[in-house]
């Protein structure tokens, strides 16, 4: 702490230059925070995936329906201990921008399949017995101010009722939550009772979107996937079964390889920062050669002067990095609001902060080391003679 005024004064010797450099670091780390949040959101399904869960979808396209009659046959596959199914409803609430996922499910099978979701026992039972029942994720319920017991008027994007109307109404009988924050991020959804949905929809009756299969032994997942798919080989509705994590990653990659995209953008951003900050540090040190020589004259050792120059780079990156990450965090509520729930919730997690700290330290080392070594090698007499 005693050297902080000295470091600060050194950094802000050329205020405009330092502020501009600082701003570029702030922008770089804000981008880093935002893009990491996007990547984490895309991979959140994979991160919370259960190794004992498989997903069975239509072989050629996830949007092709599968017959509900497959349920019993999948259940009879050796090694399978539970099967649930879900169908994409696709919903909007009040206006176009309030879109969120709605899944038509068998309440008991689905909630048994996902024990990581928490729901009050009475609400779970109410969901199972209420044909028009629906349960909503807590984040979504909080966002729209929904209360258990109210009617939930939502319109489907793809499923008309028998009368041709896209407007549906359900009874909100429960709120779904999760103890794990990562899982809670996946609760921006509504579950509706498939019994009522399947009866009231105009087309596609007797089908579902996909099956979720629980196996007794995760090491047998691949073998069970193969034997499940073999059941329906050469049928009009062939299947593709894969572990949940693989499915989640594949689903995210249908939109694009977000991880690779984010990595490439960040490499470009940080490479620019490296050059910019490195140049600033080198220039700042070059201008201050006589001052560094004076510090050595006064008794600052070579190691101490080296550490001071490195610490200046560290301070610049720490301040810029913190401000940038802070800006990313501050932007999250607005960004989450603007996606209208179509996108998994964005957040800057502890892992992202840790990664940002490591990145800041690495950049500080890269940009601080060359001038620090120059300061280390500085000969007092030669440097002072430069006057």
């Amino acid at each position: 702490m005693r050297y902080l005024p000295l470091l600060w004064a050194g950094l802000f010797r050329k205020k405009t230059r330092t502020i501009l450099t600082l701003l570029s670091i702030v922008v770089a780390f804000a981008l880093f925070g935002l893009l990491q949040a996007v990547e984490v959101a895309f991979e959140s399904g994979a991160d919370t995936a259960d190794a004992k869960r498989l997903l069975t979808t239509a072989r050629y396209s996830i949007i092709d329906p599968l017959p509900l009659s497959y349920l019993r046959r999948i259940e009879q596959t050796p090694g399978v201990v539970g099967v649930a199914h879900a169908d994409w409803f696709g919903a909007k609430y009040q206006n176009e921008s309030n879109a969120f996922p709605v899944f038509a499910v068998d309440p008991v099978r689905y909630l048994d399949m996902y024990p990581e979701f928490t729901i009050a026992r009475a609400q779970r039972e109410a969901f199972a017995r209420t044909r028009t029942g629906a349960v909503a994720g807590k984040r979504l319920a909080d966002r729209f101010g929904w209360k258990v017991g109210q009617k939930l008027p939502i319109s489907s994007e793809i499923h008309p009722r028998t009368d041709g109307s896209l407007s549906w109404e359900f009874d909100l009988v429960g709120i779904l939550d999760a103890d794990d924050p990562a899982v809670r991020g996946n609760t921006d959804m509504v579950l509706i009772n498939v019994g009522y949905f399947d009866e009231a929809r105009q087309s596609g009756r007797g089908t579902t979107g996909w099956y979720i299969v629980r196996v007794a032994d995760s090491t047998q997942a691949r073998a069970i996937s193969a034997s499940t798919d073999a059941l329906f080989l050469n049928s009009p509705n062939e299947t593709k079964t894969q572990p949940e994590k693989e499915f989640a990653l594949g689903f995210a990659k249908q939109i694009g390889d977000i991880g690779a995209l984010v990595t490439r953008i960040l490499i470009a951003v940080f490479f620019t920062i490296l050059i910019l900050t490195g140049n600033t540090m080198a220039q700042a040190t070059r201008e201050r050669i006589p001052e560094l020589a004076i510090l050595k004259t006064l008794g600052f050792s070579d190691a101490k002067v080296t550490a001071l120059v490195l610490a200046e780079a560290g301070l610049l990156l720490a301040v810029g990095g913190s401000l940038g990450m802070g800006a990313a965090v501050a932007a999250m509520p607005a960004l989450n609001g603007s996606t209208g729930g179509r996108f998994p919730p964005l957040f800057v997690g502890a892992d992202t902060w840790a990664l940002a700290a490591a990145l800041a330290a690495l950049v500080a080392l890269c940009v601080g080391l060359p001038p620090a070594l120059r300061a280390n090698r500085l000969k007092i007499v030669t440097a002072l003679a430069g006057h």
Binding site: R2, Y3, P5, L6, A9, G10, F12, R13, P290, E291, I294, L295, K296, T297, L298, G299, F300, S301, D302, A303, K304, I380, V381, L384, H387
Partner: protein, 232 residues
């Protein structure tokens, strides 16, 4: 230390600089004793080696041959780190161009040598204020160097040189950048530090008027000591 004690003992000191293939011997076997409490002027024409000798006495550089003992310690045998610690504890430096850190206030400039001690922040500030008041600049403590006159900057540099209470003050042309009146003020200040505070002062100067403030003059020419002044 009594006045008769030798503080700085220089024996057969040679300094050679290597510039590419060229070998430049700047000092040739210098012998010099500086008693404690002395105020000595190193004089001589440009290139005579006086600043080189001053740098060796102040531990800013090391001799190629010979030995330098200050306060009983062979400083020519110290490592770079040891020499830095020794300078911090025992030597105050005053330069022609003041060499203050422009981004720091006068107070912070004076505090700089104390950063290397275990003193608390409050104690560092107190001692810096005392040093500034000793040079008559306590009211300029918050000013940056660019807000001070040349004479004031040099007085801040002197305050910085004495704040850690060193035994030895080495001054390289301390009045070379000042007008006559201001130079006299600065020299009186250095003289006061020598006379009233017992500092041993070694000062390089071209200026015979400045040399009049010292107790003794040592003349150098072409890297050797001479008995009489040599015209520049």
């Amino acid at each position: 230390m009594s006045a008769a004690t030798i503080l700085v003992e220089i024996r057969s000191v040679t300094k050679v600089y290597q510039r590419g293939r060229q070998r430049i011997e700047v000092l040739h076997g210098i012998d010099l004793d500086i008693p404690s409490g002395d105020f000595v002027a190193l004089m001589g024409p440009s290139g005579s080696g006086k600043t080189t000798l001053l740098n060796l006495i102040g531990g800013l550089d090391t001799p190629t041959a010979g030995r330098i003992t200050v306060g009983g310690l062979r400083i020519d045998q110290l490592s770079g780190g040891e020499l830095a610690a020794w300078r911090a504890a025992h030597v105050g430096f005053v330069f022609q161009f003041y060499n203050l850190l422009p981004a720091l206030s006068a107070q912070r400039n004076v505090e700089l040598p104390l950063l290397l001690t275990d003193l608390s922040g409050a104690e560092r500030r107190r001692r810096a204020r005392i040093a500034l008041s000793l040079v008559g600049l306590e009211d300029r403590a918050a000013h940056k160097p660019r807000e001070l006159s040349g004479g004031q900057e040099q007085r801040v540099a002197i305050a910085r040189a004495i704040v850690s209470d060193p035994t030895l003050l080495v001054c390289d042309e301390p009045t070379g950048d000042l007008d006559r009146a201001t130079a006299d003020e600065v020299l009186r200040l250095v003289q006061m530090l020598n006379r009233d505070h017992g500092k041993t002062v070694v000062m390089v100067t071209h200026d015979p008027k400045a040399a009049e403030y010292t107790q003794r003059r040592v003349h150098l020419d072409k890297g050797t000591m001479t008995a009489e002044p040599v015209s520049a």
